[in-house]
Amino acid sequence: DQQVKQNSPSLSVQEGRISILNCDYTNSMFDYFLWYKKYPAEGPTFLISISSIKDKNEDGRFTVFLNKSAKHLSLHIVPSQPGDSAVYFCAALQNRDDKIIFGKGTRLHILP
């Protein structure tokens, strides 16, 4: 039961360009969507979130867009930097639940 799907296992982007990571979901009851970043040998680190009542949230180089009608969200990183190379997890949760539902992750490679 994949409620949160990240269909691209990996993505390579030139340094300085825009990285766009995509995510689809099936459960229309989610209240929040989140992006986590994970380096090897570390736990997931919260990056940015968006409430289901919004369509955009921006924090520095990171912007998350939510399209509820398409059940799709994306994370934009601009400009991409070498330190952005990591695995990015899309995730979601409902306020009534404790659990965060994760996607499988997308490995982002920033090329010099």
Partner: protein, 115 residues
């Protein structure tokens, strides 16, 4: 900056043995979680814990699993009789309250290998 810590970083055990994975959540946090990630799979919720009891658990969290907060700082996950399919990365997380669960801080994980 305070962080969630986990020990050991890697645990190797024989099938059928009991293992205890340890976590020290952030000191003023009240909600505690265990997640796991089987190699190549997604991170999956196992259990949440608040006020010394389980508040929610997934179908993965069967009778072989238990959690405990034995003192004011540690939060443990016990697997009574490990199976091969329990091999995974286990992440502990904590948050200050339920509403802020989405901002939970994750530990670095314990890699459990069951032989």
């Amino acid at each position: 900056e305070p962080e969630v810590t986990q020990t050991p970083s890697h645990q190797v055990t024989q099938m059928g043995q009991e293992v205890i994975l340890r976590c020290v959540p952030i000191s003023n946090h009240l909600y505690f979680y265990w997640y796991r990630q089987i190699l190549g799979q997604k991170v999956e919720f196992l259990v949440s814990f608040y006020n010394n009891e389980i508040s929610e658990k997934s179908e993965i969290f069967d009778d072989q699993f238990s959690v405990e907060r034995p003192d004011g700082s540690n939060f443990t996950l016990k697997i009574r009789s490990t199976k091969l399919e329990d091999s995974a990365m286990y992440f502990c997380a904590s948050s200050h309250d339920q509403i802020l669960a989405r901002f939970a801080d994750f530990g670095p994980g314990t890699r459990l290998t069951v032989l």
